[in-house]
């Protein structure tokens, strides 16, 4: 570990699907919490989740009182003819005292840069900015201060990017894992008519059906069989890129195994690679989960900063029996 990196304390950015989860994350040691409005402007537009303008204002006051920041994700792609909703969301976030907004759409970023020049802009992972040239374009054109990197890059590639760009980077270290370049996938749209980019949902529960067929439990999405398990075995949620299919002579997980991301052990090399912030996925998860994951990563970061090793089993149990992967951070994933 180099000395300069040891002096830079990374920011731990944690999810909050509700005001209660936000308080939990702050109390568990989040340096920053990210959340979204209760509408189609954010990419976790699930029933029962997210914040009203009033709740956001109250939550930001709570977070600030406890020394944490709040980042507001407005990271779907505004609907043609309906951009006002997204413009208002940016204005509401600034009005509520947000420390930054996380945006993905070029037009919305351009709007925010002109209309809200004092508001700090982060580029969402949904913008899939995957190299130094395009990141410089975003930073120089619109004053983007931080880019959340797509989960298609290896650690050396992240280091190379940080050596060449004028802004900060944030990377995902835990939780669900998109196998596609984020914001550039319309598989869910193809199967259900509902997409992450337009509707803020992927493989939505409204289009899921579990059905018994003989000795099998079949998990379907939009009428397509995504997986089949023997009755009695826990059936996975039919996220379409994590299903089992056939292709040529191959049968199995064509796109990705049902794994989740755990890069806790990569915190040291990622700090050395110049990463500013570590992000935990999961705004849709329970408060108990949020508490456990945030506390574990708080300890992981603090241990590393104090020169202690990061315990190898620290985050394993949090994956709730799921297999974990370091994803694209290891080049062999490709």
């Amino acid at each position: 570990m180099n000395v300069a990196a040891a002096l830079t304390r990374p920011e731990l950015v944690c999810p909050a699907g509700t005001p209660a989860a936000l308080r939990t994350a702050v109390e568990a040691g989040a340096d920053a919490v990210y959340c979204g409005f209760r509408d189609e402007t954010n990419a976790r537009n699930f029933p029962g989740l997210n914040f009203s303008a009033q709740e956001l204002g109250d939550s930001i006051r709570f977070a600030h009182d406890h020394g944490s920041k709040v980042l507001v994700a407005i990271n779907t792609f505004p609907r043609a003819g309906g951009e006002t909703l997204w413009h208002e969301a940016v204005a509401k976030a600034e009005g509520a005292g947000a420390d930054a907004v996380i945006l993905a759409d070029l037009g919305l970023v351009a709007h925010a840069a002109v209309k809200h020049p004092k508001l700090r802009l982060h580029l969402s992972v949904q913008a899939a900015a995957s190299n130094p040239d395009v990141i410089r374009f975003w930073a120089e054109s619109f004053g983007i201060k931080r880019v959340v990197l797509p989960r298609v890059l290896s650690v050396p590639e992240i280091a190379a990017i940080n050596a060449e760009i004028p802004c900060e980077t944030e990377v995902f270290v835990f939780g669900g894992l998109c196998v596609m370049a984020e914001g550039r996938c319309s598989l869910s749209s193809h199967c259900t008519g509902k997409s992450p980019n337009m509707n803020g949902v992927c493989s939505p529960p409204s289009h899921v059906l579990y059905k018994e067929e003989g000795d099998d439990l079949v998990a379907k999405l939009g009428g397509f069989t995504i997986d089949r398990t023997p009755k009695g075995v826990a059936a996975p949620y039919p996220t379409l890129c994590k299903g089992r299919f056939t292709a040529g002579d191959y049968a199995g997980h064509v796109f990705e195994d049902p794994v989740s991301l755990d890069a806790a052990q990569l915190i040291p090399p990622l700090i050395d690679a110049g990463v500013t912030a570590f992000k935990i996925e999961g705004r849709q998860r329970s408060r108990a989960y949020t508490q456990a994951v945030v506390a574990a990563f708080r300890k992981a970061v603090d241990d590393h900063m104090a020169g202690r090793p990061i315990a190898s089993d620290m985050t394993k149990r949090l994956a709730e029996g799921q297999t974990t992967t370091a994803g694209a951070y290891k080049k062999t994933w490709r």
């Binding site: 505004p78 609907r79 590639e157 049968a251």
Partner: protein
């Protein structure tokens, strides 16, 4: 600037698959001489590992197409991560006298202000704000993402007309649905992307991915995921023209793309009806099944009556 009152423009998109370089050059030579399209796209979009095969032959192919009276656009890579990929993009952008189409925003980092460019369906243009910003930066043609509903196409075509930007739809071909850092062709052959042995070349239309029940589902093309149907807007031509769409993109598949282009040309000109056009597409010798466009499909939630 395109003339939005003129007849609709018919465009041959870039070959998205790993075709042997001679097959690819022969295809484009035939397009140059015999296929009735106004514009032809060339250049590797999907995988930088394929790019060197085509790079040397590109000048001759472009020249041949131009001699055939086609305007030519060179496409950039869709996913740019490593240095070599950045160099490929920078080299294309640096070429004098070549029209480029961007497949992500990377080229805008080096494209001189005022230089015009086209925008591919892999760039997220969902609204007037994005369209307007790109137009002010030099975009003269935008092919809209296939997932957009007709209402969005209408709104964007209206704005495109106001800005003098050609509004194009992805009119024919397996739909480009996703791009990844991971190569699925390599993965299902037990290989990694870096040692892929170019197994994607075995599947000139991509490889079908079916459900465990044997139902047609998706297809893979290296790092790209596509629909399994060859989606066509042939049934929506009237609605799209009424919406103000000025350009239609045909994405090359194995089969007679000349027949496909002629069917679209005649349908767009009102010389044949949808039934006749569909019959001609069916007779084009395609190796992949025809299917509906995304905008024409109706999805039913699983918990609704008659749902999945």
């Amino acid at each position: 600037m395109s003339d939005v009152t003129a007849n609709p423009t018919l465009v041959m998109g870039p070959v998205l698959y790993n075709w042997p370089v001679d097959t690819w050059a022969d295809f484009l030579a035939r397009v140059a001489d015999e296929v009735d399209v106004d514009r032809v796209h060339v250049g590797e979009v999907v995988c930088s590992k394929r790019e060197p095969f085509y790079a040397d032959r590109l000048p001759e192919v472009i020249e041949r197409l131009q001699r055939g009276g086609k305007s030519v656009v060179v496409d950039t890579l869709a996913l740019v991560t490593v240095k070599r990929e950045r160099q490929i993009v920078a080299d294309l952008v640096g070429l004098e006298g070549v029209e480029i189409e961007i497949n992500d925003l990377t080229p805008l980092a080096t494209l001189e202000p005022g230089r015009r460019f086209a925008v591919s369906p892999l760039v997220n243009v969902y609204n007037e704000g994005t369209l307007g910003w790109l137009a002010s930066r030099g975009a003269w043609s935008v092919c809209l993402p296939p997932e957009l509903p007709l209402a969005s196409v209408q709104a964007l075509a209206r704005e495109g007309a106001r800005l003098g930007v050609e509004t194009q739809v992805f009119a024919f071909g397996r739909l480009p649905l996703a791009i990844s850092g991971r190569c699925y062709h390599a993965r299902i052959h037990g290989l990694a992307k870096d040692s892929c042995r170019y197994v994607c070349a075995e599947d000139p239309d991509g490889l079908e991915v079916d459900t465990l029940d044997g139902e047609a589902f998706l297809s893979i093309n290296g790092v790209q995921t596509m629909s399994q149907d060859c989606a066509t807007v042939i049934d929506e031509v009237d609605a799209l023209l009424a919406a103000g769409v000025t350009s239609f993109r045909l994405s090359p598949q194995t089969g007679d793309m000349g027949v496909v282009a002629a069917a679209f040309r005649d349908r767009l000109a009102g010389r044949i009806d949808g039934v006749e056009a569909a019959a001609r597409l069916t007779a084009a010798g395609l190796k992949v099944p025809l299917g509906p466009s995304m905008m024409s499909r109706a999805w039913v939630p699983a918990n609704a009556p008659g749902g999945a």
